[in-house]
């Protein structure tokens, strides 16, 4: 297919439609508005339905209804809107409903600001709703990757009957880059025989439910769900490891900020310093295995985030005490400049400062 210059938000929409998404329930919020707007234009042309809900809570519960009816369905929002969806996401997980949820995040807490930030890492990876659950979280770093991962996300959702989160930020949503819609490799998807159908099969009553009033029934339900999580942890971990062999420092960074780290890597090369990069593509499951091999030259891990430090918890767990774990973060909507990362690395190495 022809290359196109597309805005991240619209690319998400196009990718979703390509992946067979037929329903979208949204509510406006900056910086993701172009996505519902795109869907309102394009979905009807593709035999789908766009509906604007009364709120994020309305939207996520409409997703619950549509997903329970077997539809490929998506919703999107940004940080505070995702916070409002937490109960709904918890229900989707409890009822094992597949869907894709997009967070083009901004800075918080509270109303905060609307510039790109990564302060929703915990919200996305630690199930900020109630109870025991996780959702796969994809963090693309370019529009092309966004497009690829969105398509993947729908398949992963259906394979494991789970909501999947795409965690972008204002920059991913707003920027344009060239994209190509490749035919991604299709998975063999299980039949949705648990879903409500347009035509009822007599005698097989379907129930979409997250209530297990007896602990003796709730526990096995959870164990079943966590059994799937074990498979996801084995099969679906994705990350990129770059420049790590013999690196002086290995940075860990995802999404937007990983691109800044790439610039820093180049700049540091000029000074003869080797900076490696572990870029988690799935934030959950976190790519712990990427940390297994550490070069003897490596003196520290450096978690670089557009936040006050959240992924660093996972980096610490992955590191398991072997090396110092350092942090460089710019929160509040500031995208750090490559030179800041450069300086931090030099500081760690006892260089400049």
């Amino acid at each position: 297919m022809e290359k196109m210059l597309m805005k991240g938000n619209e690319a998400v929409g196009a990718a979703a439609i390509k992946a067979g998404c037929k329903y979208f329930f949204g509510y406006p919020i900056t910086p993701q508005n172009e996505l519902p707007e795109y869907m309102s234009r394009e979905l009807p042309k593709n035999g789908g339905t766009y509906l604007q809900a009364e709120s994020e809570i309305g939207a996520i519960n409409m997703v619950f209804g549509a997903a329970g009816a077997g539809a490929r369905v998506m919703t999107s929002s940004s940080s505070p809107g995702i916070a409002l969806k937490q109960e709904g996401i918890s229900y989707l997980c409890g009822a094992e409903l597949p869907c894709v949820i997009v967070n083009m995040s901004r800075s918080g807490p509270g109303l905060g600001g609307i510039q790109p930030a990564q302060g929703d890492y915990f919200q996305a990876t630690r199930g900020g709703g109630n109870g025991d659950y996780y959702t796969p979280v994809y963090a693309p770093a370019s529009i092309q990757e966004t497009v690829d991962l969105v398509q993947e996300a729908f398949d992963v959702a259906d394979t494991y009957r789970t909501p999947v989160i795409i965690l972008g930020d204002g920059m991913i949503g707003q920027m344009m880059e060239s994209v190509e819609f490749k035919d991604i490799q299709k998975r063999r998807l299980p039949q949705k025989d648990w879903a409500l159908k347009e035509h009822v099969e007599k005698g097989s009553k379907k129930l979409i439910n997250s209530l297990y009033i007896k602990p003796e029934e709730m526990e096995p339900h959870l164990q079943k769900i966590f059994g799937k999580y074990d498979v996801i942890k084995k099969e679906e971990v994705r990350y990129e490891k770059f420049n790590c062999e013999g690196a002086d420092v290995v940075a860990v960074a995802y999404g937007t900020v990983s691109r800044i780290v790439r610039n820093a890597i180049k700049k540091l090369e000029e000074d003869g310093i080797k900076l490696g990069l572990i870029r988690p593509i799935t934030l959950w499951p976190f790519p712990f295995e990427a940390f297994d091999e550490i070069s003897p030259e490596t003196k520290a891990f450096l978690s670089v985030e557009m936040s006050m430090g959240q992924m660093i918890d996972d980096v610490k767990i992955a590191n398991a005490g072997r090396l110092p774990v350092e942090f460089y973060g710019r929160p509040g909507g500031i995208v750090p400049k490559p030179i800041e990362v450069v300086d931090k690395v030099k500081e760690i190495l006892g260089g400049a400062k």
Binding site: L5, P31, I114, M175, M176, R259, K266
Partner: protein, 179 residues
């Protein structure tokens, strides 16, 4: 050595600065280069200013944020005030002198002044001022030609705006002659 051009376009909301950036990015992409386009967004737009960052490169693009611009294109005065310091030493600043009555104060950059509003008016439509400026821009940075821009125009605005092509052709050409 890899080619990379980082540009900031800035001006009032109605001046088409976001489109200028998109056209340059699209043209770069059509020529097989990697590109990124990043707009400002948010309630500041209510104040009526807009800007975007464009990067065109034959290598991988890291951060799409332009921190040290090769070129700054300013269409109104507040934009010059705000972005003058964002240009790398040795970079260029293209100033819409129709609306900006002050001069660039830095002496480690090259500044050029083009009365693009007047030129556009001469071409028949004040709205084409941005195209005039683009015409001048591509003379400064020779990775694009006039035709590339016009091809990108169709991509950005769609076939429906084809009728505007002659006007824009004229405007781009007029801009090119300013340099």
């Amino acid at each position: 050595m890899a080619f990379t051009e980082e540009v900031i376009f800035a001006g009032f909301g109605g001046q088409g600065v976001l489109s200028m950036g998109r056209m340059v990015a699209y043209a770069g992409m059509l020529k097989g280069m990697n590109v990124s386009w990043l707009p400002s967004y948010g309630p500041e737009m209510r104040g009526g200013t807009a800007n975007c960052n464009v990067i065109v490169s034959d290598g991988l693009i890291g951060s799409p944020v332009v921190a040290d611009a090769d070129t700054l294109i300013v269409m109104n005065r507040p934009s010059l005030d705000k972005f003058e310091s964002w240009v790398r030493p040795g970079g260029k600043i293209l100033v819409n002198s129709s609306l900006i009555d002050i001069k660039v104060t830095r002496d480690d950059v090259e500044a050029f002044y083009y009365p693009v509003n007047e030129v556009a008016a001469e071409c028949g439509n004040l709205k084409a001022a941005n195209m005039v400026m683009l015409g001048a821009y591509i003379k400064h940075r020779s990775f694009l030609e006039e035709n590339d821009l016009l091809g990108a125009f169709l991509k950005v605005f769609g076939e429906a705006k084809k009728n505007l092509l002659p006007l824009n052709e004229k405007a781009v050409a007029a801009g090119a002659t300013l340099v």
